[in-house]
C-alpha cells in the first residue's frame, strides 16, 4: 500500500493513499468540525462544516470527501473558515426548531458542540419556525423532525450497516425531510428491525429512545465504528 505525506495545519502526516483529508487530520490529531461525517459510513459532503483550504486550490473543499495527495498543504482553521462555519451553523439553527433546554440530546449534541466550537452564541438570521412534527409511532424510538439537520446519517446507517433502508430523504430544498417507508409512521414500516443504529448515529436529538427525557440521550457514536470494524476485521471486542 502506497503512502502519501502531507501537512495539516503545519503538522506532517503520512497516511495510506486513498485516505481522506479528514482521516489524515484525525491521524494528525487535528479536529475538523463536521456533522454529516460519521466514521464507518459513506461520505456525502453535505454539511460543509469540514471544508478546508488547500494551498494552490482556490476552492474550499470538504475534508471528508477530498482524497489526500502527496505534498498537500491543508489549513483547517482560518478566520474565513471560522466565519463561514459559523454562518452554516446559524443557518441550521434558524432552519429547524432547536430548543436545547428541553431536548433529549442537550449536553450530548453534536450540533451544540459545533456551535460552541465555532463560537456561535446566537443566529444573525431570523428563525424560520417551520411547522414540523414528531413521530412516536415506533414502540421504542421517536423522531422529532424539529431537530433534524438532514445530515442523512440515519439514512446511511440504516442502508449501509443494517441493510433495512427504512429511511430516505423526500421532497426537495427547504421542504426536504427524512421519511420512513412510504411517508408512513415509523412504527408502520415493516422493514425496521428496531436495531437502534439510527439513534446512535443521529448527531442531535432528532432520533431518540422514547423514554429519554431532557438531556438523557447519550448516543454511543463510536459503537457504529466498532460494529463496522468488527464485521470487517472480525474483532468483536472493543
Amino acid at each position: 500500500m502506497s503512502v502519501v505525506t502531507l501537512k495539516i495545519d503545519g503538522v506532517d502526516v503520512a497516511i495510506a493513499a486513498g485516505s481522506s483529508v479528514m482521516q489524515a487530520a484525525q491521524e494528525a490529531s487535528v479536529e475538523i468540525p463536521r456533522l454529516c461525517y460519521l466514521e464507518g459510513l459513506s461520505t456525502v459532503g453535505s454539511c460543509r462544516l469540514c471544508v478546508v483550504e488547500i494551498a494552490g486550490i482556490n476552492k474550499l473543499l470538504p475534508a471528508c470527501t477530498t482524497e489526500v495527495r502527496e505534498g498537500m498543504d491543508v489549513t483547517t482553521q482560518s478566520p474565513k473558515l471560522q466565519d463561514y462555519r459559523r454562518m452554516v451553523l446559524e443557518l441550521l439553527f434558524g432552519e429547524g426548531n432547536h430548543v436545547c433546554a428541553i431536548c433529549v440530546a442537550n449536553g450530548n449534541c453534536e450540533l451544540q458542540d459545533m456551535a460552541i466550537a465555532v463560537g456561535m452564541d446566537h443566529s444573525r438570521f431570523p428563525y424560520r419556525f417551520p411547522d414540523r412534527k414528531a413521530d412516536l409511532s415506533h414502540t421504542q424510538f421517536g423522531i422529532d423532525h424539529n431537530r433534524c439537520i438532514l445530515c442523512t446519517r440515519c439514512v446511511r446507517v440504516c442502508d449501509e450497516i443494517e441493510g433495512a433502508h427504512v429511511w430516505d430523504v423526500s421532497q426537495r430544498g427547504e421542504f426536504c425531510h427524512i421519511t420512513s417507508g412510504l411517508d408512513q409512521p415509523w412504527g408502520d414500516v415493516d422493514a425496521c428491525t428496531a436495531c437502534g443504529k439510527c439513534v446512535d448515529a443521529c448527531p442531535t436529538g432528532a432520533i431518540f429512545r422514547k423514554n429519554d427525557t431532557t438531556g438523557e440521550k447519550v448516543g454511543d457514536r463510536e459503537k457504529l465504528e466498532f460494529l463496522v470494524k468488527a464485521r470487517e476485521n472480525r474483532e468483536w471486542v472493543r
Binding site: 460543509r48 463561514y84 443557518l91 432552519e95 427547504e174
Partner: protein
C-alpha cells in the same frame, strides 16, 4: 452502410425533391403563433392548384426570428416571409410561379441575419428534422464516417483540442481536454452523456437544436463515443420539451435503421447506441453529477467532485458529459478540422455561440454569433433594441447562475473571460434584455426564488442559505430592509457561493452580487431609512447609474 451508400442516399434525396419547396417552422414559438393554420393553408393551396408534383410543403425546425413567427421560407429562391397568416398562404404558394404576395419578406441584410455565423445552426431552415434523408443530403453523418474510417480515436481527440471548443453548457471547460481524460482512462465500460436538461429560464438553444436538427447531436455523440472508447450514450432531456423528445426518438430510430447507430458502424469495429432519459422537473439535474444520479433512477442530488465524471461517472464508469450545443459542434469540427474552428472567434474563446435573445427586445429569437461579438452589436444591432423606443438598462446572461451586465458595459465582447470579469458568465446562452423599467432588486429576488425552489436540499448553505437570501431580498424589495440587511445579504452571498456543494449553490448568489456591484443604489433607495448604522446618509460609490 458504407460511404457509397451514404452518397447514394444523399443523391436519392436530391432526386426525390420537387422543383419548389415551401418550408414552415414547427418550433413551439411559431406553432403557438399559428404555424399550423399556415401549414394547412399552404397545403390547401397546393392541392387546390394541383401543384402536388411541383411544390412540396415541408416542415423545418426553428429558423431563429421567433418574434416574427410564423416564418415561412420558399426554396430555391431562399426568400423568408415573416408573420405569415393563413390567409396569406395561397399567395405565398403562388410566388413559386411568379405570383405576388403581401406577406412580409424578411430583410436578410438586417444585422440580425448578417452578423450571424451559423455552424451549430447551419441546417437552420434547410432540413426537415423528422427525415434523416434530408440530414444526409446536407452532408450528415459524413463526419462520423470520416472519424471512423480515416482517423484514430486519438486523432479525433486531437482535432477537438485544436478546435479550442469549450463546454457550451456554461462551465466552459475545454472540450478536447475532457475527451482526452476519458479516452485515457483504462479501457472498459465508458459512457457518453448529452446533457439536454436545459433548465435556465429564458434559454431555449438546446431545445431548438434537438427539435430542428437532432441527427447532428447523435452524430456528435457517436464521434465522441469513438474518440473516448464508449459504446453507450444517453441523452438526458427535460420532459418539458415534448417535441424535442419526439424528434430525438424518431432520429434514433432512423439512425439505427440506417446503421449510423448500432454495431459495427460503417463497417468499423465501433458499436454505439443511444438511449433517451427524460427528466421529471428538476433544474438541479442540469448539474452533471445530479444528472447522472437521475439517469440511475435516484434523486437528483449532486455529489462532491472530484472524482469527476471523466474518472468515475455513470455507474462509476468513466463518463464523457457534454451539452447539446457542444455535441452539435463536433461534426463540423471533424469535417473541417480543428484549425478551421479555432480560426473563428477570439484568442480566449473560439468558435461561435448560440444565444436565446429574449426579454425587452424587439427581435427575440435564436442567434449564433462568432465569439467576440459585442453585447451592443447583439442587443442594439441584431435585436433592434428595446421595443417602442425604450432604453436598455442591463443584459442578463447565464440565467440564475449568471449576472447582469449594465448598459454602459455593453461593448464587452462575448467571451468566457471578459464576461466572467464583469461578474456575469457565458452560461448556456440565455440572454435577457432588461429596460429602464426593470427593478434590479426585483430581478435578484426572482432568481433567488428560482434557486430556493430548485435547490435539491442536500447541502446546508444552498438549502437554507437560498431561503435566507430570498427573505432578505424580499424584505428589502418591500421597503422593510435596513443597511444591515444589505450587508448581511452580501456576506451570506459570498458564503453560499464559496461553501455550496455544487454549481447551483456556487452560482446562485451571482445575480445578487452583480446587481449589488452595478445597481447598489437601487438597493439603498429601497431601505427603510436611507441612513447607515451611524446615521449617515448612504450612497453607493461605484458604478451607480444616475437612476
Amino acid at each position: 452502410m458504407d460511404i457509397n451508400e451514404l452518397h447514394a442516399m444523399a443523391e436519392q434525396e436530391q432526386l426525390r425533391r420537387k422543383p419548389h419547396r415551401i418550408r414552415y417552422c414547427t418550433s413551439a414559438g411559431c406553432v403557438s403563433a399559428g404555424a399550423i393554420a399556415v401549414k394547412d393553408g399552404l397545403k390547401a393551396a397546393v392541392k387546390d392548384g394541383k401543384l402536388d408534383n411541383e411544390i412540396e410543403i415541408s416542415s423545418v425546425g426553428c429558423m431563429g426570428l421567433c418574434a416574427r413567427g410564423p416564418l415561412v421560407k420558399v426554396e430555391p429562391s431562399e426568400i423568408f416571409y415573416e408573420n405569415v397568416t393563413a390567409e396569406q398562404a395561397a399567395s405565398v404558394v403562388s410566388t413559386c410561379h411568379g405570383g405576388a404576395t403581401d406577406a412580409k419578406v424578411s430583410d436578410l441584410e438586417h444585422p440580425f441575419w448578417k452578423l450571424q455565423q451559423p455552424i451549430v445552426l447551419e441546417n437552420r431552415g434547410r432540413i426537415n428534422p423528422e427525415r434523416i434523408e434530408e440530414y444526409v443530403q446536407v452532408g450528415g453523418y459524413q463526419s462520423l464516417h470520416k472519424a471512423l474510417t480515416d482517423m484514430t480515436p486519438a486523432e479525433v481527440v486531437e482535432e477537438m483540442k485544436k478546435s479550442g471548443l469549450r463546454g457550451r453548457g456554461g462551465g466552459g471547460y475545454p472540450t478536447g481536454l475532457k475527451w482526452e481524460t476519458v479516452a485515457k482512462m483504462p479501457p472498459g465500460q465508458k459512457y457518453v452523456i448529452c446533457n439536454a436538461d436545459e433548465g435556465d429560464p429564458g434559454a431555449f438553444m438546446d431545445r431548438s437544436i434537438l427539435e430542428s436538427d437532432p441527427h447532428r447531436v447523435l452524430e456528435g455523440m457517436a464521434i465522441a463515443g469513438y474518440a473516448v472508447g464508449a459504446t453507450h450514450g444517453f441523452v438526458y432531456t427535460r420532459a418539458e420539451y415534448p417535441l424535442a423528445i419526439k424528434h430525438l426518438q424518431k432520429a434514433i430510430k432512423q439512425a439505427k435503421k440506417f446503421e449510423f447507430l448500432g454495431s459495427q458502424i460503417f463497417g468499423s469495429g465501433f458499436d454505439f447506441k443511444v438511449d433517451i432519459r427524460i427528466g421529471a422537473g428538476a433544474f438541479v439535474c442540469g448539474e452533471e453529477t445530479a444528472l447522472m444520479h437521475s439517469i440511475q433512477g435516484a434523486r437528483g442530488n449532486p455529489r462532491p467532485r472530484p472524482p469527476y465524471p471523466a474518472a468515475s461517472g455513470l455507474w462509476d464508469c468513466p463518463t464523457l458529459i457534454n451539452n447539446v450545443e457542444s455535441f452539435a459542434n463536433v461534426a463540423p469540427i471533424v469535417r473541417n478540422g480543428g484549425d478551421w474552428y479555432a480560426s473563428i472567434g477570439t484568442e480566449d474563446s473560439k468558435g461561435t455561440k448560440v444565444f436565446a435573445l429574449t426579454g425587452k427586445i424587439t427581435n427575440t429569437g435564436l442567434i449564433e454569433v462568432p465569439m467576440g461579438t459585442t453585447l451592443r452589436q447583439i442587443v442594439e444591432e441584431m435585436g433592434d433594441g428595446v421595443p417602442d423606443g425604450g432604453v436598455v438598462k442591463a443584459v442578463q446572461t447565464g440565467g440564475p447562475s449568471g449576472g447582469c451586465v449594465p448598459a454602459d458595459l455593453l461593448d464587452t465582447p462575448v467571451e468566457y473571460k471578459s464576461l466572467l470579469k464583469l461578474g456575469a458568465i457565458m452560461g448556456s446562452g440565455g440572454m435577457i434584455v432588461m429596460d429602464e423599467g426593470t427593478k434590479m432588486v426585483e430581478i435578484a429576488r426572482f432568481y433567488m426564488e428560482f434557486c430556493r425552489e430548485e435547490t435539491c436540499g442536500k447541502c446546508v448553505p444552498c438549502r437554507t442559505g437560498t431561503v435566507q437570501l430570498y427573505e432578505l431580498l424580499d424584505k428589502i424589495s418591500k421597503g422593510q430592509g435596513t443597511a444591515k440587511d444589505v450587508e448581511q445579504l452580501e456576506k451570506l452571498s459570498y458564503m453560499v457561493k464559496e461553501m455550496s456543494l455544487c454549481g447551483l449553490g456556487q452560482t446562485a448568489p451571482n445575480p445578487i452580487l452583480s446587481t449589488l456591484d452595478y445597481f447598489k443604489q437601487e438597493y439603498l433607495d429601497l431601505l427603510q431609512s436611507p441612513a447607515d448604522l451611524n446615521g449617515n446618509k448612504i450612497e453607493a460609490t461605484a458604478n451607480a447609474p444616475s437612476a
